[in-house]
């Protein structure tokens, strides 16, 4: 059964750095493909947007299996950004999303500065993305093989290059695997980002004591789900104080209350990720939960919640 959020008089529309969203809820990249796989459960046009799986220029094979492990209140993944390349997204997925009436935030990945730009250029030529979310958590040759999102200078360079390639809303997705997330946030902001999204997954590990082996083929992977929510909330709150940009908050959001907590900490919009695996209509549940909260608390416009934390 395809679900959409219930009717309400609460004003739910938000503006995420120039991307108008009918409500503050999108899907987290990599957990919802490009929406089609969830079309039996969710009316994708009823979400604020759909954020698509990370896309590279010519596609990537991804990592060896096993790629996931369940951990207490969370999961580890090392999918390795497997994707069929930007041409496939342009030909198959974005037209489907457009026909379904959904807004598309395209998550962009690259192994080099140049690859990010080429992906955006291909999408600009097609003209079907509503916004870009630049994933700076990929290992990058121009950053000496390390994750470029941990180095402020590399972040500044890649965001500037992406900025030159598009006038559409440019969201930069931050990795939490850094000492000071505010420093990276400032680098992205100064390079022209319209919004920041956070958090990507936290680097973690699971070990099978009996076999004395790592559970994942790649040994380490990204932690997501309810287990990361306190870390994500803390980072959204810190970044909200550090930069003057709208934020897309994520990390363990399962309910409307979770989403409201992120908005109070400073998020303009939120993304639902791992929760989709628990409940396929989780994104709709989150919108409904935000509506419940607003109606119960007498909040007429959801924008009142943004950064409304009382400290």
């Amino acid at each position: 059964m395809t679900r959409k959020p219930r009717e309400t008089s609460v004003r739910l529309a938000v503006d995420l750095g120039g991307l108008p969203m009918a409500n503050p809820v999108t899907t987290a990249s990599g957990t919802f493909a490009a929406g089609r796989e969830y079309a039996d459960f969710v009316d994708v046009s009823s979400l604020g947007a759909v954020t698509t799986k990370g896309v590279s220029l010519n596609g990537w094979e991804g990592n060896a299996s096993p790629r996931i492990a369940e951990t207490p209140s969370g999961m580890l993944n090392s999918i390795g950004l497997q994707n069929p390349g930007v041409a496939h997204l342009i030909e198959c997925d974005l037209p489907w999303l457009a026909a379904a009436g959904a807004k598309a935030i395209v998550n962009v990945s690259g192994h080099s500065f140049r690859e990010y730009v080429e992906v955006i250029e291909a999408l600009e030529a097609a003209g079907t993305a509503d916004a870009y979310e630049v994933n700076i958590s990929c290992p990058n040759v121009d950053a000496g093989g390390m994750t470029l999102g941990t180095d402020p200078a590399s972040v500044q360079t890649v965001v500037s290059l992406c900025r030159e390639a598009t006038d559409r809303p440019l969201i930069v997705k931050l990795t939490p695997n850094v000492t000071d997330i505010c420093e990276i946030a400032r680098a992205a902001a100064s390079a022209g980002a319209d919004a920041l999204s956070l958090i990507n997954t936290l680097l973690g590990m699971a070990i099978d004591a009996r076999s004395r082996r790592p559970v994942l083929a790649r040994a380490v992977g990204g932690l997501s789900g309810p287990a990361v929510k306190p870390v994500a909330l803390r980072m959204v709150w810190q970044v909200h104080q550090a930069v003057d940009l709208p934020l897309l908050g994520m990390g363990g959001i399962c309910t409307g209350t979770d989403a409201v907590e992120f908005m109070l900490a400073g998020a303009t919009a939120v993304a639902v990720g791992t929760a989709n695996f628990m409940e396929p209509a989780a994104a709709v549940d989150v919108v409904d939960g935000i509506i419940d909260y607003c109606e119960q608390q007498g909040v007429a416009d959801v924008n009142e919640l943004i950064g409304g934390l009382r400290c």
């Binding site: 059964m1 990599g30 957990t31 919802f32 493909a33 796989e37 969830y38 039996d40 459960f41 799986k53 094979e61 991804g62 299996s65 096993p66 790629r67 996931i68 492990a69 369940e70 207490p72 209140s73 969370g74 999961m75 993944n77 999918i79 497997q82 789900g225 309810p226 791992t274 989709n276 695996f277 628990m278 409940e279 396929p280 209509a281």
Partner: protein, 271 residues
Amino acid sequence: MAPLVNEHASILQNRPVGPGLHLLQLHMPVIARQVQPGQFVHMRIPGREGHILRRPFSIYDSDPEAGTCEILYQAVGSLTSYLPSLQEGEVEAIGPVGRTWSALERFREGSATRALLVGGGVGAAPLHLLARRLSEARLPFDVVLGAQTRDALVCLPRYERLCAAAPACSTDDGSFGFAGFCTPLVEERLAKGCTADGNPYDYVAVCGPEPLMRIVCGQAEAAGAYCELSLEKRMACGVGACLSCVVETVHGKKRSCVDGPIFDSREVVWA
């Protein structure tokens, strides 16, 4: 393919049937009506919220009129060991997920004339509905079942009711049937090339531990029979979105949840 549903399924029965083996009967009318042999449900088990992921289970049997399905499961880890304690209440099941065995289609188009179904351990579960459909259509098939002990051959009575010839069985400890793995029984049947009425097997379906499936696929291919297997991979979404469950194939990586779990043996690239 029928649209997927997330059905709230009430537990009608959940009882031990063998060593570490349990039979779960659920009321889930939509899935019961639509399920095809070999398909599975992706189940959310309540009461253990720290375990956030669903677990995939094949449909062992279904009764569309009564709106019920049965799952045969083995306690191997945290949730399958906890599940037996749920004697009432609801689980949530996404289904029916995945592709079905191509046996019936192959009989229809004439490329299959006699089928051999090989089930090792709980691998006998996803083959049972196929055996039922073949039997209802009066199509010729035989069954080989392997298990660790006699007590673990819990599917045998149901298969006996469906098969014209008694299933060939093996047990690791020799407590019933052939002593050892079931692969020599498969070899024997394929090597004979024909059965009493002279039909060679041209279709083999296998489900069980991966080493067993690998051997049976090799045996079937050597005998010139088309062979399908049902793979078990760890799954997060169960609907084709997350790429957790990919299998290496000659056509590149495929998702075992929705592009499988049933694969053509010649397609699979073994690790």
